[in-house]
Symmetry: C2
DNA sequence: TCGTCATATCGATAGTTGTCAATGCATTCA
DNA sequence: TGAATGCATTGACAACTATCGATATGACGA
């Protein structure tokens, strides 16, 4: 199994949960701390932390700690890589 | 939870398995019957059938029966929809 | 230093997923 | 019509996932 498939699969898996897509949307207007994200979702804090870990592990989201807050921000390059993978497929469809 | 997130999540979930990405690649050069796809993967026939069902349910792949063969073909519009979802996100990242 | 706040981690649990072997169901061909 | 072929379905199982409550960690303020 080529490594690229494994990597792309991991990215798409990170995108494959509705709550995570909602988290991504709340991050579209710039970085946010976890507590702000939590206000917009119907999940408890530990669940959010779980989802943030998956998003960070996939590379789609980056985090940096500021005082006692964790700031999360979307990683444009990672989204572009996923988009480009889909584009490569689309271009080859006759 | 907005319905669009549920739909996009389902598409990305279909893309989140390396074997399915490999199936998609084998279909990039046009339609194929299941037995041809099977030759390129290290899985048994029932497992392939399972993956094809997930791909078809997501809309990424369409099938039509020709005699005793099932022909599978990539659905360009579905891939474009997924690509556009990612594009919408990318455009909003400052 | 002590309590509080923000977040991560742990443990448990129900549900989902990927995989295979076995079987079923059409379709084709001899 | 009976056997063979192509594919789907079923049942079983181990691995993974999403979720929660409880607890730990680490930073800040009083």
């Amino acid at each position: 199994m080529p490594k690229q498939f494994e990597m792309d699969a991991k990215t798409f898996k990170a995108l494959s949960d509705p709550n995570r897509l909602m988290i991504i949307e709340t991050l579209q207007n710039g970085d946010k701390c976890a507590c702000k994200i939590l206000e917009e979702l119907n999940i408890v804090q530990s669940t959010l932390s779980h989802h943030m870990k998956i998003l960070c592990d996939s590379g789609l989201v980056e985090s940096n700690k500021v005082g006692k807050w964790m700031h999360y921000v979307l990683n444009k390059e990672a989204f572009e890589a996923a988009r480009n993978s889909l584009d490569d497929i689309i271009k080859k469809i006759r």
